[in-house]
Amino acid sequence: MAVYLALKEVWRNKGRFLLIASVVALITVLVLFIAALSEGLASANREYIEKLNGELLVFQEGAQLSTTASRIGRDRIAAIRRVGGVADAGQVGFASVKIVPPDGSKEFDASLIGVEPGRPGEPPVLEGTQIERSSASDVIIDAGVVARIGAKVGDMIRVKVTQGTDEEFYDLRVAGITDRRQYFFQPAIFAPLLTWDKIRPQGADANRQGELITNIAVVKLQDPTTLQETAAAIETDVTKVEAVNRKTAWEAIPGYAAQQSTLTTQQFFTFFIGVLVVGGFFQIQTLQKVAQIGMLKAIGMSNWTVGWSAIVQIVTVNAIGVMIGAVGTLALVANFPVTVPIQLTGSAALATVVALLAIGPLGGIVSVFALLRIEPLRALGMAQ
């Protein structure tokens, strides 16, 4: 009876219920879009660090886990490799360059990441070969670079840097292609350390003859379960360094935490708006139906049936809205250009949809209680 009445009312008032379902759908699009943006921005920031083939990252002490402020030289790398529990360690340096597309289109920024061939920090290639020390101009590019300029293995790519006050151009050969490994919102080029050191932008007074200093060390452990102990051992045995796991490292990327908390707050408020919209609609509908509900109770309909009917209606309309919104968002996200940091993972989308399905009806609960409180006598104008 409850389901019959609920669905009959929805079906016979399709326009009205479609309107609220559309509002729920738009809220769903907004929530999913924020989730996708949040994930996309987070990924664009942390992708390289997240996928690193090493469990620990070592920063210079006092650099507050900033890759740009941290300096790690050869002597420290050597010391790290000697610490018990460390299987290997690789020097990694970060810089920013511009890629000059071969078709003459606008240059774009890329992260130039210096890695030691064969050591932690170098990404595995999906096509082509790993880089070698002997081939200085060989680089690995990530799928983000491929998406923008369509480079293939063996192609030459041109990068532009500013050395001092002069612009310099370097042609690099694509030895291999790896999956998306953006860093700091930029697609990545992985070059051997010496190449990286030569190309990376430096001030006019840079000492090019000195020790090869990079930003961090990536450490692969013999046993990943000894992460805490090995990190402590590194900090004890090697002077003035700080060892952290990958998550701690990417959360320390400048602006990362603030950005994520902003987006989470936006998502929370959009959820909240959704709850209020659904609640407001059903509350208004309840107020319009007081006499009708009073009549139904008077002729023998139980509170349970009245309440269950309302819940079925709220859940149905909310679910229709969420589904329309979810399908719409998937279609929208699939058609965004690769340059837009939108990434909707299955698990994030599912979690958001489930949350919307569960939270949306909460707003309607108030109207269900209002329905249960309707007294037939008062509703029918028969009360004294």
Binding site: Q292, L296, G300, N303, L380, M382
Partner: protein
């Protein structure tokens, strides 16, 4: 056979010095196949009486027995279920579910009682056809006139074969012609189906369709008219008064509670 019996029922509102006695020690019984009109001025207690007989309100004292059960002793939930099974109800307005068709509104009571099947569906169709709504089965309330809506409500009140059928001012929103049609059909069906019917009304012209008129004043039964000739005289006098005879202040007397006063009820 007695279908409904009210024994010394009293209803108080409020407590202490502010207590209002809406119904005071009223006893009443209605037989199966009997149609009764409850009349009286505003505040006479007739609506409170009807609400108690319908199980919508618990009496402060006394017993109301329908189908052998004292509904005053039942819990809220049990009374609601009892109403769905043993009582048929029509109201002044807001009688029907707006998004259900005429037929679906009638079938709702069968569905509520788990009695919806092919035979009962046919019975609902036949009843609506009998009430002149055979061509309107699929129309929703908004597509029906006030009189047609009341007839659908009558069909809904009778379809589940209740013990007692109650009507609260069923003609309040109808014109004279429609009001006569509705109450006449209601009376015929109550007699044919052997139900006990009680109608609260201000309109004494409708008295000609009932078997007994009970007048309430100040919460008590002040007069009962069971004689057919007297009932017809009363209804006839009310018909005469309707819009034709000036009242003491020079304005026409309308069908309503003024009429009960004018007619000495």
């Amino acid at each position: 056979m007695i279908a409904l019996e009210a024994i010394n029922i009293t209803k108080h509102y409020g407590t202490g010095a502010s207590t209002i006695v809406a119904v005071n020690e009223v006893s009443l019984s209605v037989r199966r196949g009997e149609f009764l009109a409850l009349v009286g001025p505003s505040g006479s207690g007739k609506t409170t009486m009807l609400a108690m007989l319908a199980g919508l309100l618990k009496p402060t004292h006394g017993q109301i027995v329908i189908a052998g059960q004292d509904i005053g002793r039942m819990s809220e939930g049990k009374r609601t279920k009892f109403r769905g099974q043993f009582i048929g109800f029509t109201f002044q307005s807001n009688n029907l579910v707006p998004y259900l068709s005429a037929l679906e509104n009638v079938e709702m009571l069968l569905r509520l009682n788990g009695k919806l099947n092919r035979q009962s569906k046919q019975r609902a169709r036949d009843l609506l056809t009998r009430l002149g709504l055979g061509e309107r089965l699929k129309n929703r309330p908004g597509q029906l006139s006030g009189g047609q809506q009341q007839r659908v409500a009558i069909a809904r009140a009778l379809i589940h074969e209740p013990e007692v059928v109650l009507a609260d001012e069923p003609t309040a929103s109808l014109d004279t012609e429609r009001a006569h049609q509705v109450v006449q059909t209601f009376a015929e069906l109550i007699h044919e189906q052997n139900r006990a019917g009680i109608m609260v009304t201000h309109d004494l012209r409708m008295a000609k369709y009932v078997d007994r008129v009970i007048q309430m004043v100040d919460g008590r039964i002040s007069r009962t008219i069971a004689d057919r000739r007297e009932i017809l005289q009363l209804a006839g006098a009310a018909d005469e008064l309707d819009g034709h005879t000036p009242s003491s202040n020079g304005k026409p007397v309308e069908a309503g509670e003024e009429m009960t006063t004018v007619l000495g009820l």
